[in-house]
């Protein structure tokens, strides 16, 4: 099984670290993983996206043609990436600032008002982790409990202080998604 996910949004939205976190977790779980950030512009303020491929076998290409999952944190990303989503795929959308109407009938859309949820937690900075939590619930690419338990290891020492906040954010997103 090879599962491809594209995380996308604005430069400052923590899109890359979402993908990075997922990739690290999957690697710890012993999977084959590629993580490929692809910032569109050398400069600040552009759009950013990254592709995470998780697989049980060696991965041929880190590029996701026909990804199974997409996370779109802003409008341009939603517009751009929903069209490449594989039929039957799932797109998680930051509904706080994205109009989620899509022309495609063959895909599933999960609307998460991440900005509002983050605001409730007191800082917009955790919006990405909220989305990641929601995404994990819906995709089940890595075990949510595993990620929670190993978050320190996954994020690296630097982020030690933030672990607790991030765990809460992940959980907020996870529980936002109904079974």
């Amino acid at each position: 099984m090879t599962i491809k996910t594209i995380f996308s949004g604005f430069g400052g939205q923590g899109v890359l670290s979402m993908g990075f976190t997922l990739a690290n977790a999957a690697m710890l779980e012993g999977k084959y993983v590629t993580y490929l950030p692809s910032y569109g512009v050398e400069v600040r303020g552009g759009t950013a996206n990254c592709t995470v491929v998780v697989s049980d076998e060696e991965i041929a290409s880190p590029v996701a043609s026909e990804p199974e999952f997409i996370v779109a944190m802003n409008q341009p990303s939603f517009a751009r990436f929903q069209s490449v989503l594989t039929s039957g795929g799932l797109i998680c959308v930051n509904s706080s600032i994205v109009n989620t109407t899509s022309a495609r009938g063959d895909i599933e859309i999960l609307a998460v008002p991440t900005s509002e949820l983050a605001d409730k937690m007191g800082t917009i900075k955790v919006a990405n982790m909220i989305m990641l939590g929601a995404f994990l619930k819906a995709s089940n690419i890595v075990s949510f409990d595993f990620m929670l338990a190993h978050l320190q290891e996954i994020l690296g020492e630097g982020k030690a202080k933030m672990i607790k906040l991030n765990q809460e954010a992940l959980e907020a997103g996870y529980t936002f998604v109904k079974e």
Binding site: N24, S38, V41, E66
Partner: protein, 352 residues
């Protein structure tokens, strides 16, 4: 681990004690990794004032006997050409990394393969060559770095690692278990102060044209030895293939994905992936042409390696080409479609 980090870590483990570099996307993560890691390991890190300064610091460190490295991306590589020519002329080892980006000019920072000719033909002046290594995965990158240092010292010549932003930024699991501490190479040319021995000089100025000519032929023979001994490539499903794709680096990796798909549809496609772009695996390609008539060259450029394939085939066979320059990364699906189209054209032609 990211390709950039793997590269840096492998270098340090392979005994690289000096890194000199100037920021440029998409290889900044490597410079930043080295900024932290090299001093930790007791080595020397300088963010130089330019790419030119960096390559010349490398030259200085190399002549002082250290394993030294620099890295850059396309525009910065152009600036290093004089220095690389000097390293080759002075017969000094060094590893130079180019994480190629879309060009020419400022271009963009997306992965590209359009510095192939610069790397393999010597963008610098004079008759010289550099071994050019093109890894296709993070693990291979980690494996190739110590090899690059060894080749550089064994031949006393600069070695170029040609990657791209995709390889640098991609994260994959990687093991460094294969890396051993560097062998002892003879260091009878380095400058340490003339203690207990005659003084030495390292130079490439040879006013006497006969001397310079001799030096050129000496280098030439060295390059011939490299051509004989250092060709590296990977064969992928070549044995039963009716069409051979020639691609390298990250391009080859996408091709692999495409071939996997095509094999499922029973299209007999294989691949020869040059790992050394120079010396180029011409022989294996030429030999394969005894059996296979169609070669499909894929490059993330408007076509540069295709010249080497043409040189290898010497008129044999039929060459197909697909190029995506400018930093565009095609998908395996796209490639599989293009390849299959050419494949059917080919069978069609065969039937005529």
């Amino acid at each position: 681990m990211s390709g950039n980090a793997a590269l840096g870590e492998a270098a340090v483990l392979a005994g690289c004690t000096c890194y000199f570099g100037y920021p440029i996307t998409p290889q900044n993560e490597l410079t930043e990794y080295m900024a932290k890691r090299v001093p930790e390991a007791g080595g020397i890190f300088i963010q130089s004032e330019s790419e030119i300064a960096a390559i010349n610091m490398v030259l200085g460190a190399s002549v002082a006997g250290a394993r030294a490295m620099t890295s850059s991306s396309s525009p910065g590589m152009s600036l290093k050409q004089e220095g690389i020519s000097y390293l080759a002329a002075d017969e000094l080892p060094a590893v130079v990394v180019n994480m190629v980006r879309g060009g020419p000019g400022m271009g963009n920072i997306s992965p590209a393969q359009s510095d192939y000719l610069q790397a393999t033909r010597g963008g610098g002046h004079g008759d010289y060559r550099t071994i050019v290594l093109a890894p296709g995965s993070v693990q291979e990158l980690a494996d190739i770095v110590p090899l690059a240092f060894d080749l550089a010292e064994a031949y006393r010549n600069p070695v170029i690692i040609l990657g791209d932003g995709m390889l640098g930024q991609m994260m994959e699991p990687v093991s460094f278990d294969n890396i051993k501490p560097p062998k002892e190479y003879p260091k009878d040319y380095i400058l340490t102060g003339a203690r207990g021995r005659p003084s030495r000089m390292v130079r490439s100025l040879l006013f006497d044209t006969k001397e310079e000519e001799e030096h050129n032929w000496k280098l030439f023979r060295k390059y011939q030895r490299m051509e004989q001994n250092e060709v590296r490539y990977e064969k992928y499903l070549v044995d039963d293939a009716e069409m051979i794709v020639v691609a390298y680096g990250i391009g080859a990796r996408i091709v692999k994905g495409a071939i996997k798909r095509l094999r499922q549809e029973n299209l007999k496609i294989g691949m020869i992936r040059p790992i050394t772009l120079w010396p180029f695996p011409a022989k294996i390609i030429r030999e394969t042409a005894n059996r296979v008539t169609d070669f499909f060259v894929f490059e993330m450029s408007t076509g540069q390696m295709i010249e080497d394939v043409r040189l290898a085939l010497e008129g044999k066979g039929h060459i197909h080409f697909y190029g995506r320059p400018g930093g565009v990364i095609p998908t395996p699906i796209e490639l599989s479609r293009v390849i299959s189209r050419h494949y059917y054209q080919q069978s069609h032609r065969g039937k005529k």
